[in-house]
């Protein structure tokens, strides 16, 4: 089963803002090519960081999620934000190969 959580405006509060561990949230959309290529990378990372970092994604094309996209000022995707204790502590815009993303996470979180 996939370890990447599918987010919506309903579970965002609980899964991201109230999460006990840091959460990497990928804001994506189906028409965005680089976002599609990001998906397998995120799946891999979710496995590798299991228990340390929760990986989650949110489809910004879905009208129900657009308020969240606006709230977090998403203007370019893929856009990955790292949340810790409900706060955004890091942001990455644009496709990242797995190793680059991994290094970035480790740096940000000191793990």
């Amino acid at each position: 089963m996939s370890k990447v959580i599918d987010l919506s405006s309903e579970n965002f509060q609980k899964e991201v803002l109230e999460s006990k561990i840091p959460v990497l949230v990928d804001f994506w959309a189906p028409w965005c090519g680089p976002c599609r290529m990001m998906a397998p990378v995120l799946e891999d990372l979710a496995g590798e960081f299991d228990g340390q970092v929760q990986v989650a994604k949110i489809d910004v094309e879905n009208p129900a999620n657009q308020a969240l996209a606006a709230q977090y000022q998403i203007m370019s995707i893929p856009n990955m934000k790292l949340f810790k204790n409900g706060q955004v502590i890091g942001e990455l815009v644009g496709f990242r190969p797995k190793e680059e993303l991994k290094k970035e996470l480790q740096k940000q979180l000191g793990i």
């Binding site: 965005c32 090519g33 680089p34 599609r36 094309e61 000022q73 203007m75 190969p97």
Partner: protein, 305 residues
């Protein structure tokens, strides 16, 4: 393990080369930051034979699966360095610390977006400054945007955005945009698109997000142009940083010089696709794929010797 051929770049040129190599029985590996290359940023492809219309990401996925179907490994890592350690011995250092060894190399690194290089551009990237209209256009529904540039990709972006935004400015430094007639007519037909010619952007201004552009040629008597987004489409430049050690010969614009067989000036190194002087520099999927195939046919002869 030593490969017969290491393909650096996983766009149409590299993936096509891999398919040909696998079918010739050449032991090959593909290294590429993003599989599918630039096609992942293309909204829709309509000039690839056999696919009347295909989304860019779908093409990228299909091409990747095709190459993988022969059992080839595609390493989605950046290469940091390529070294020639004597005849028939190349080493490629990857960002994950891995080292790849190969007898021959095909360079298919493509090109990257040219940046404007003006104040504010870097700071506001992803906050209103974008290099991919297909990815980000959606966020500008009923907003005002500008496209910088006058080539086919700028015109294509303007037309695409013309269906989403409230107003699209095309900012072009020359007299008249230089694009296919199809694009020019589409621009002229859409009253939402306005071309500002003989104009450059001096500065991009905004605090947390883009607020306005400063122009060198006033529009309606004002140097400031208020926009929500700006899409930079001023062409591309070849990805040659990686080639410092290899010393392949480049032309005056930095493209790798290749012969009709894809050979570069360095023995054992071939190149294909957008990064080369090949195909009259016509930068398309079909020419990139073809150059990959031609190079591999020559590599096959070389490896047999």
């Amino acid at each position: 393990m030593k490969y017969d051929l290491a393909i650096v770049g996983a766009g149409p040129a590299g993936l096509s080369a891999s398919v040909y190599a696998s079918r010739y029985g050449i032991k090959n590996v593909v290294i590429g930051g993003i599989s599918g290359g630039l096609t992942t940023q293309t909204h829709e492809i309509g000039n690839w034979l056999g696919e009347q219309k295909i989304a860019g990401w779908e093409f990228a996925q299909k091409a990747t699966e095709h190459a993988k179907s022969y059992g080839v490994e595609i390493k989605n890592f950046l290469a940091d360095e390529i070294k020639k350690e004597g005849e028939g011995n190349f080493q490629i250092f990857l960002s994950n610390g891995e080292k790849i060894q190969a007898r021959t190399i095909l360079i298919a690194l493509g090109s990257k977006h040219r940046h404007l290089g003006v104040k504010g551009e870097k700071e506001l990237a992803g906050k209103g400054v974008s290099y991919c209209a297909t990815c980000d256009g959606f966020f500008y529904k009923e907003k005002t945007v500008a496209v910088v540039g006058g080539n086919d990709s700028a015109a294509g972006a303007a037309v695409f955005l013309g269906n989403i935004a409230k107003k699209v400015f095309v900012i072009y430094r020359g007299e008249q945009i230089r694009c296919e007639r199809f694009w020019r007519e589409s621009i002229e037909k859409n009253p939402k698109i306005e071309v500002l010619s003989n104009t450059n952007i001096k500065e991009i201004v905004g605090k947390d997000k883009l607020e306005k552009l400063i122009l060198d040629n006033p529009y309606q008597d004002k140097e400031e142009l208020e926009v929500d987004g700006v899409f930079v489409e001023i062409g591309s430049e070849p990805n040659i940083e990686l080639l410092k050690n290899l010393k392949v010969e480049l032309d005056e614009d930095g493209y790798i010089k290749i012969g009709p067989d894809g050979k570069t000036s360095v023995k054992g190194v071939w190149a294909a696709g957008d990064i080369t002087t090949g195909s009259n520099k016509f930068k398309q999927i079909i020419t990139a794929a073809a150059e990959g195939a031609v190079a591999v046919a020559d590599i096959q002869g070389f490896l047999k010797k």
